[in-house]
Symmetry: C2
Subunit: 422 residues, 2 copies
Amino acid sequence: MIDADLPPEALIARMGTRARAAATTLAAMPAAAKSAALREAADAIRDASATIVAANAEDMASGLARGLSGAMLDRLRLDADRVAAIADGVAAVAGLADPVGTIISEDVRPNGLALSRVRVPIGIIGIIYESRPNVTADAGALAAMAGNAAILRGGSEAARSNAAIHSALVAGLTAGGMPEDAVQLVPTTDRAAVGAMLRAEGLIDLVIPRGGKGLVARVQAEARVPVLAHLDGINHVYVDVAADYDMARRIVIDAKLRRTGVCGAMETLLIHRGWPHRDALIAALDAAGCEVRGDADVATLGYAAASADDWDTEYLDAIASVALVDGVDDAAAFIAAHGSHHTDAIVTDDVATAEDFLARVDSAIVLWNASTQFADGGEFGLGAEIGIATGRLHARGPVALEGLTTYKWVGRGTGQIRGTVA
Amino acid sequence: MIDADLPPEALIARMGTRARAAATTLAAMPAAAKSAALREAADAIRDASATIVAANAEDMASGLARGLSGAMLDRLRLDADRVAAIADGVAAVAGLADPVGTIISEDVRPNGLALSRVRVPIGIIGIIYESRPNVTADAGALAAMAGNAAILRGGSEAARSNAAIHSALVAGLTAGGMPEDAVQLVPTTDRAAVGAMLRAEGLIDLVIPRGGKGLVARVQAEARVPVLAHLDGINHVYVDVAADYDMARRIVIDAKLRRTGVCGAMETLLIHRGWPHRDALIAALDAAGCEVRGDADVATLGYAAASADDWDTEYLDAIASVALVDGVDDAAAFIAAHGSHHTDAIVTDDVATAEDFLARVDSAIVLWNASTQFADGGEFGLGAEIGIATGRLHARGPVALEGLTTYKWVGRGTGQIRGTVA
């Protein structure tokens, strides 16, 4: 066990050194062995259900006493069904195709050197998260299935729940042959440990924050190690002049209202000024229970007027800003000015306009005639996701196993040299 | 023209805004159009040869007056042949396959949503370099061919040469239909402009430093934007007990001595303790003109004893540290402790040992029976390289066109929604 009372830098350095040793072992584990260990872990979590629920009850009690909001308490709460779902999630990761060892490209050079690029694990992934204790198992399992060691830092409000889940997870993984330090949980709720993780260059290879905007903003501002994350999901649906009314209505209402708190929810609706159904669509959105904040033209229809800030706001609520635009050029320019490079969609029956939008809108995910709420690793067929990234490097959009790998160049020769040696 | 007297932050912000507009245009340019523009640029550089050489003569004169070293002056010097080689390099980039638009993966989801991942440019690439003026053309051409806008910041000692090359490059690119701001050169030698580039989050998407260790270390320490780079090339050749003597001798001498100043040069030689030819190999390296600094066993043969620092030193000179190891496990552990994740090689006739080494050594490039001096984008068939990266994210090893791209998810639906809407 790591001594939780070490100063944060020393604690993270100790954990990083152990993680590196574990990562070396994990990198060499065949897919079947990793899958088997994860299935053991899923069983161990199922077996520990009562213990986990009891630990969670203590977290819930102290959360209530500390006055956590109802939303936070709901995110924190575990019962037997939720623990079973966590175990199922780990088992599902065990069934995913392992990207490690995949050949990305191969070539024999004119001098006979056989050269390939081979997927390998990244190494050590740090996960920093808040109140949802399921992340302990989900993120640990995904990192380990891709051959990485994980260092997890959960929220203090979920400390007992996380410890109980982690304990079961590690018991299963080690029973299945993984090193004990494959998935480590930072054993302190001292916030300075987060800072130490963010500065752990050379020890932690990648940090992924999971949580609210405050957490992500802190991680992005302080990190000296690479980060995959998204800060905002200011997502647009552009309804073109050639859109079918009923398709547009269903997509817009789903994109906004299916779940308003997810990062893939629509926040701004752009409608072609010349589309005959524009007023009806806005009325339908309003009637579905969404507050409409419109530009000057939309406000004349009797809706609230949007402020300048509205166009740059992620509501995560039943509110949408609505603007009229003059076509796909105008829509693309609007999205470039106000979007967050997360998920943007067009609704149109015109193929050329759709392809123009898909080519020009520079977001991690661009969709034609589909709801922005599909922005999710599961929906994309990745089996799971460790997060959604809106940066431009390494991985964009939903990040799953492949995003947790990198590659190396492997050259096999027969004595090739570059110059001349007698 | 950008006003060179603006404060550095304002200058880079102005250039970044112009670069973003150019990047939007470049991202939509077909491969043939980009190639044609680069061929125009190659011609323009050829046509401007006398002007470029004259500008370079002024840089050389002031470099001499400022007491630059002979090595720096050689890197700075241009003549008609070197300018022709720069133009040829740009023409070669024009002939490379364009990765933009390549489909990385595609899938039709059970709900009918057709989903693909498509390569797109990264956006805006900042290149920070020192005395070699050819980087102005090489890096600008590579960035633009991958559909990116470039912001170049060269060394003050090459300011006139860079300006002359840049002027010809841009004249050719714009004649060929690229936006004027596709490749911008920072018009000041104020070092604060480098700091402004490194802090230009949201304006510059990726910084690539090209130059000595001091430059790379500064960039890595200060950058708030992502960086692709390598700080060191502490490369090992491990000669196994099953190595052929003559192959080992030729590879080791080539790896160390073909060019000692390149990042792919061998710095440390590891030899299996039980290999019968070990003393002969060390003697051959010594006889070829390389200073040997050995571990305790090697020193008993009459060579200098290595200090503890030697094992972590990139000599970039005709010096090698030499240690005996007990096999591939020991060699891999040695490389993990002292290597820089750049390029490491094994020489052996034993396939299993070779594959073990290739799997376990965690470097951007691992080679079997080939010289480490192949660590080069041209030798790897990439046509060119903008640098070699030893980090773990996005791109490793030689970085060329593909490394200057990212991807986006493109979904084409027929009205799919995730929930239910009446």
